[in-house]
Structures are given as C-alpha cells and as structure tokens.
Amino acid sequence: MNENQDAEAVEEVTKAQEPKVIKFDELDPNFKYEIQAEPSGEFITRCYACGTCTASCPVRSIEETFNPRRIIHMALLGMKKEVLSSEFVWLCSTCYACFERCPQDVRITEMMNALKNLAVKNGYIHPAFTAQIDLIQGHGRLYEADSFVNKKRAKIRLPELTESPDPIKAIFKATGLYEYSTEAKESKELPQSGNTEGGSNE
C-alpha cells in the first residue's frame, strides 16, 4: 500500500461526498476494533490490500465509487463517519465473488454486513431496509399473503399461504431490531407529533 493509493482512496470518497481531506484528529483509531467486535468483522485486519476483491466485484465494474478494497482501507485508517454514512456500504450485492478469492480470507461479504450493521447502530440505516423490517415484522415475510395471492394460488391448486408475524416480532424484540421499525418509532414519537425523520438522502 503506497501513498498514492491512499490519496486515491480519499479522492474517491470526496468525489462521492463533499470535498474534504483526511484530518488526522478526526480519524478514529478504534474503528477497526469496533468492526472486529461485530459478528464476521473480525478478519478485517488481515487485508494486505492486494485488490483481488475489487477486481472481482461486479458492482465495482459498473459503479466506480464502490470499491471493496478502498472501503476496507478507509475503515482501517479509522475513517468511521465517512464509511458508515456513505451510500457505498449498502452497495454490496452479496455475490461472494470476493469472498471466494480473497487470499487473506478477510471474508469480505460477511465483513460488509458487519459494516452495515454498525452503520445501522450509528443511525445510518438505509430507508429501503426500514421498509423491509416493517414488512417482515408485519407479515412474517416480505410480501403479504392476502386474499388476492391466495385466490391466484387456489386457481392453480397451490396450498393456501398463511402468515406468522408474531414470532418474528418476538425475535426482533429480543434482538433489539424492533426499535428500528416504523411501529416502534411511531409509538415513541406519539407525544411530540409531526417530528418526522427525513431518511438519509444523499
């Protein structure tokens, strides 16, 4: 890893966000430990920046701002806010191409989940995922099993589809994920109504 590559990494972020340079006093040296404390984040420090992941990545080949090696490098540098608030942590399509090929077994696809999980904990949940939490919590699945669906199924003699949302809500309550659902947020916001969150539009 040379300085040019560092500069390149920074430039890429600045392209995607407002212009800024690395300020050393804003780096968080503990960020990598935070990532390592998340499930599947533990191997991030194994990365020796070979770039195999980036070369294998199908998202990268279309969207230049997405670059797994750079994300890892930024994380190791301690650019916590830049990593967690960026759109690019959400852009991994979980294809496992990099996971299979990484010579250091960083387990990138899973490590990306660790980053996304941390982003959520730091208040940067992508609105698309709030919607999915709501749906799954409400129906037990991503789609409602309403009478329209069941009529269609009955017509071709497929068994009726039922919903089991309660066990899912119980799981989300036990893990704390429930707090991120619209239902939980609304019940909290009830006293001071009108206070809506804008989501993280970039």
């Binding site: 852009l91 191409a97 299979e100 660790a114 995922f129 589809l161 799981i171 036990a174």
Partner: protein
C-alpha cells in the same frame, strides 16, 4: 435409493409463493414425478436474508427458527430460492459449528417453544435432483426431444457460494452441477462471457440504475452467445431478469426479448408435461418459439 424414504420439508420463502408460482408449481410436479414427498410447514417465515444487512443476529435467529420447525418434524429442508438457500445453509453451518451461537439463538427460540439441535440438512431443490435423483435417472426419464436447445445457465450466486458452507459440493470457479442438470434434459448449457455475473437483486432497493446495468450486461451476453433462453432456479434472479426485463429494455434502450425459464419447467417439458401444468402461462417473456418447435404449444402460452 428407495423412493419411499425421500421426504423433505418444502421451504418456499417470501418470493416463490407470491411472485414465482410457475416455479413452485413445476417444482412440486417434478418432485412428484421422482417420488420426492414435499411437506408444507405453514409456520415457516422469511429466511432472514434481507435482515442480514441490518442485524446479523436477528437474521441468524430467523433462519434458525425455520430449521427448528423442520427438525421438529424430523425432516431435512428443501429450498427453491437460491438466496434463501444461501441464508439457511450459512446459518446452519454456523450453528452446527458454534455451540455458543446455537445456545444464544435457542435462548430466543425457547420463548416460541422451539429449540434447534443442529440435525437438519438444507438442500436446494436442484442440488437434490443432482444428488438424490441423479443425472442418469433424469436422462432415462426424458421423453421429449429438446433438440439441443441452446440456453444460458444462471443458478444464482448462493447456489454454490460461500463454498465452505456448501461443503464444496461444486467448484464455484469452475462449476458443472447446474450445467449437467441442464444438459440431462436434452437442452444444451451454452457458455457465455458474463456467466458469473450476479443479478444485482440485493441492491435493487439501493441503486436501481446499478442493478439494472448488471442485468443488462448479463442479458446482452446471453443473447450474444446465441442462446434462446435463460434457465433459472432463483425467484429473485427471475424478478431481475424476467419481471423487470421490459423496464430495463426501456431504460437501457436495448432489446433482449429473452425468455426466462425455471429449470423445473425445462425439465418438465423434457419429461413430457404440458406447458400449462408447468405454469408457463405465468411466464412473462413467452418462450412461444421454443415451445412450438418442440411441438408442445398450448393456446394459452402463445402471445
């Protein structure tokens, strides 16, 4: 290999029963054909795939709950969706190898009166056909000549990856299982340059333009290779390639007109089933030309 013993819990997941009924219908028919009994468990819920990005712990408990429900009936699990397969297989792998995690998960499942002991195996339906039925038996049963129909194979990333969780049943860098299954029907798995390209389904809700570009790249590559259809075993890949195909054609100003056929439908045709029984009415990009050529046209499947 006695047929009577082949009994599995059918895990449908979210997308198959609502948006891929042609896949479900044809898979149930193929199972029946080969004496595989599929048991429905109505209490199954989402595998946890969409939740992994937000909270891996919740996702793991969700997958474990489904495994526990199958285990309660003493059954292995059969999946149709490749993304569900990945999530359930990975969770299972993790829980079988990490007793602390298993205990943590069971603490939550206990409130629901469930416990997972770690005895279930998870198989994608296509893998089951490969391992339990076998290529030879499939070939023996083929009745209709598919005339070497050239098709592009796309099993979906999570059919073989991560390979460690799938116990290396196929080599992800040089896979052959899915191609063998296709070739056994009398069609021909035709190579194409973007074979390994992911459908982009997981980022559809994040950046639709990137996801569509990924789909376009793949469809163009299949077309260029001279294939007449794409063969799928994942309902979410199908959402990307077939259900969004018209929109993507418009967006990218590129014509594909690429029929997307589920493997179970292709195999069903080869076994002599009627297109209606295999749910071809539901296919959006009609493979009318192909059906006509092999002589199984039904009025309802023509455009």
């Amino acid at each position: 290999m006695s047929d009577a013993k082949r009994k599995y819990a059918l895990y449908l997941g979210c997308t198959v029963p609502v948006r891929a009924q042609n896949y479900e219908l044809s898979a149930r028919l193929i199972a029946k054909h080969f004496g595989i009994e599929l048991v429905d468990i109505p209490e199954f819920t989402c595998c946890g795939f969409p939740i992994k990005s937000v909270d891996q712990r919740s996702s793991l408990v969700m997958a474990a709950r489904n495994l526990a429900l199958a285990e309660k009936q003493g059954l292995d699990m059969v999946t149709l969706c490749t993304a569900c397969t990945g999530t359930q297989v990975e969770a299972n792998h993790e829980l079988k190898n990490d007793s602390d995690k298993l205990a943590e998960v069971n603490k939550i499942l206990k409130k629901d009166g469930l416990e997972y002991k770690g005895t279930v195996n998870v198989h994608h339906f296509a893998r089951l056909l490969y391992e339990d039925v076998g290529i030879d038996r499939i070939k023996q049963e083929v009745k209709v000549d598919l005339q070497n129909l050239a098709v592009g194979a796309h099993p979906g990333c999570h059919f073989t990856k991560p390979s460690e969780a799938f116990e290396d049943f196929d080599d992800p860098e040089n896979p052959h299982v899915y191609d063998d299954l296709i070739n056994a029907t009398g069609a021909r798995s035709n190579p194409y340059s973007e074979r390994e390209l992911c459908c982009g389904g997981a980022i559809l809700g994040i950046r639709v333009d990137v996801a569509y570009a990924m789909v376009g790249k793949k469809l163009a590559s299949i077309k260029e290779s001279g294939s007449e259809a794409m063969i799928l075993i994942c309902p979410f890949c199908n959402v990307m390639y077939e259900q969004n195909q018209k929109k993507i054609e418009k967006e990218l100003e590129q014509g594909f007109a690429m029929p997307c056929i589920y493997y179970t439908q292709l195999l069903g045709l080869a076994l002599g089933y009627n297109p209606d029984e295999l749910g071809f009415k539901i296919n959006r990009v009609k493979p009318s030309k192909i059906l006509e050529r092999i002589g199984v046209t039904s009025e309802k499947t023509t455009t």
